[in-house]
Amino acid sequence: MIYLLLATVLAAALWIRKRPHLVLPWQRVAKGSVGMVSLLLLSLFVLVGLLDTMHYRAALSEKSNGQTVYSAEVLSVFDALAKGIKSRSEKTYSAPLAAYLYAKESMETSEGKILRDYPRLRYGGAHLADPQRELLGDVLKRTGIGALEGLLIGVLLIAVSNMLFHFFVKFRTVWSSAGREISKDNWISTFTRAMKNKPFKALLITTLLIAMLLGITVNLAAVYHVLGTDKVGQDVLYLALKSIRTGLVIGTVTTLVMLPFALLLGIAAGYLRGWVDDVIQYLYTVLSSIPSVLLIAAAVLMMQVYIEMHPDWFETSAARADLRLLFLCLILGVTSWTGLCRLLRGETLKLRELEYIQAAQAFGVSSSRILTRHIVPNVMHIVLIAVVMDFSSLVLAEAVLSYVGVGVDPSTMSFGTLINSARLEMGREPMVWWTLAAAFGFMLVLVLAANLFADAVRDAFDPRLNRT
């Protein structure tokens, strides 16, 4: 289903490319540095989410009759990539970049005495002989190497993509204009020309920074737990990265559920008026007059009861967790279409009185054709703005709902469940802060990028903002 979504986005992009009046606002988005940088960050998150969506079940062994036995655990490509940090779990909490466990344990020394001390971690910093002396130096060394490696890869990446872009441009000019002058740029001058472009410069710096950060993380994660471990010893970095997918799914699938309701009903109410309008208005007043949290909570709890009553439906607990996630999206979608629906109804009411619609009506164009050819394209900017604006609030809502206990399945990794499991640890002494910090940190970056991107899109598409 996620692939379907991706295909739709690509198809829409191709469709838009052919229509200059639709390309214009996107070009405006591309001209802002903030928008482009946040888009880059967002696509990084999406990449992690996509990698995490490609599921497979590892083949354990091949039987003599040719049947392959699959393991019960469903893995994703992301799991395979992060195999190292996934499998290296400790006994319990450990602080970020620590070499010792969080809790004291009784250990037997070589002379047979019982000693209570912090035991060494099984994996974190296991290569060090004397962590107390060597830890800082090793971390610094690895940070340095990681940063350099990242920088190198970043530069390489930029050089390659610049080269590709250069040849693409050249190829296109050769292709389209046989007689016209072919630009004499070599690929370095293409680059220097691009550097004068402000958003390109911002993009370049961000890419390098991200590459450096990634390099450092990868280098450190090989032998340490970069963000510590949680109660059962799982690496927090891994958990946080896995949570991204849940956040993205909630943000996008909910929108997908909501859109048909809002579009269909909003436009129908605005265009047809009369009793259709009355019925639809009644519907959304009823829905929106119920406090939304209450409605969601009630619906989710009902669903929970239902699932509990039919345990035989699900083969694995993962399937049940996925279904719960999907249901949550469905419920969120059904309860949140009213706002957009009202906006669309208002806009359609305004549009249908305009001259070009009246002209179409006078020519005898059928209602369905007017709706699809004239009205829908003209309210699309509202839909787009609403969709990108809703995304971040949905990611935030997921955390709150999971926290209240009406969100995703507790076994699903999400920011909400991460926060929920970590909040009681604040009371410990010394405090276990890293799980919370990781969850909030990742969420902040994701939501901030989404918000900034939404702002860029809104600024580009909103016709009320006059620009010169």
Binding site: S289, V400, Y403
Partner: protein, 325 residues
């Protein structure tokens, strides 16, 4: 005006019926009355007689929506739905599953909810509007940019962070106020302080930005140019002219919320252990107490509709051109 009000109130009735029908069907699509009885009496080893008796006592022994055995009008009225929801319009919410009167519970729990919600609302409004006006005053300068960036940053932080972080810093590190709980009378101040502060913090980003857009939209209009041309100072223009004219969009967003303040906040109350309506609702949902959930939903939607009517009335106060017919 009176005629308008009467019409609006009459219009509210079908909506409330719809709300009731929705909660009712949500509840009974997955839960049968038998399940509820079993849940209340303990999951295992319940005799069918005991279930029947419980259902009879609590009035769940009738058909759900349509009684085919009854005659005439009681075909509809002699059902669980009608029996349970018709009395709501007289504010008779019946009793919860543990036998307490819901209406009385709501009355006693209203005060703590209000004690948190009202100060949050008022202080918040004051701060947001001041902040937004200041940003408008310094518009298109570095200060404005800083303010807007701050707003975007603040609204990107999860509300849970404010609560958890606030509790940690104020109660655990500095020991200013108790972490959670509630007490009546003057003592309540120390319990209320932190939730209010966090409530205000939680939406400062989104709200201030929203008010700023409203003010910026107003400031491009002709009357502002006239006011400036008269030689009025920018401050005077902003506070006397722009603020007044921006009242309509502000009221649209604000007045609807006022009646809902009674409902309290689900999140804050459950976090700070405040015995208000919000935590009452959460408990009821978890215990699957249908009477309480339905009463709260009913109350909530009624207050929402009241908020819409209040909004319309408030328009006539700030803008004499608006007439209600």
């Amino acid at each position: 005006m009176i005629a308008y009000l009467i019409r609006r109130i009459l219009y509210a009735i079908p909506i409330l019926v719809g709300v009731n029908l929705l909660t009712f069907s949500l509840f009974f699509v997955v839960n049968t009355a038998d399940d509820m009885a079993r849940m209340q009496l303990g999951m295992k080893r319940v005799t069918p007689e005991a279930i029947e008796k419980w259902k009879q006592q609590h009035g769940y022994d009738k058909p759900l929506l349509f009684n085919a055995h009854a005659e005439g009008i009681s075909k509809i009225s002699d059902t669980i739905f009608f029996q349970k929801s018709a009395r709501m319009f007289a504010f008779d919410f019946g009793s919860s599953n543990d036998g307490r009167n819901v209406a009385r519970e709501i009355q006693t729990r209203m005060m703590p909810s209000l004690a948190i919600a009202l100060p949050t609302f008022l202080i918040g409004l004051l701060i947001y509007i001041t902040f937004a006006l200041l940003m408008t005053l310094f518009r298109a300068t570095a200060l404005d940019m800083l303010g807007v960036s701050l707003c975007v940053l603040l609204m990107s932080i999860s509300g849970l962070f404010y609560i958890i972080g606030g509790q940690f810093v104020a109660s655990k590190l500095w020991h200013w106020v108790p972490i959670s709980g509630y007490a009546g009378g003057l003592d309540s101040i120390k319990f209320v302080l932190l939730p209010v502060l966090i409530g205000v913090m939680g939406s400062v980003g989104a709200s201030s930005r929203w008010y700023r857009t409203i003010f910026l939209e107003e400031i491009g209009k002709d009357y502002v140019r006239t006011a400036r041309a008269k030689g009025l100072s920018e401050l005077r223009v902003l506070f006397r002219h722009v603020l007044k004219n921006a009242m309509i969009p502000i009221l649209t967003g604000v007045v609807v919320v006022i009646p809902l303040l009674f409902m309290g906040s689900l999140l804050t109350e459950s976090f700070f252990g405040i015995p208000g309506l919000g935590s009452y609702t959460i408990d009821a949902i978890n215990a699957q107490d249908f009477s309480v959930v339905r009463a709260m939903v009913f109350l909530g939607s009624m207050l929402y509709i009241a908020g819409l009517v209040l909004t319309d009335i408030s328009y006539t106060i700030v803008d004499p051109r608006v007439r209600l017919q």
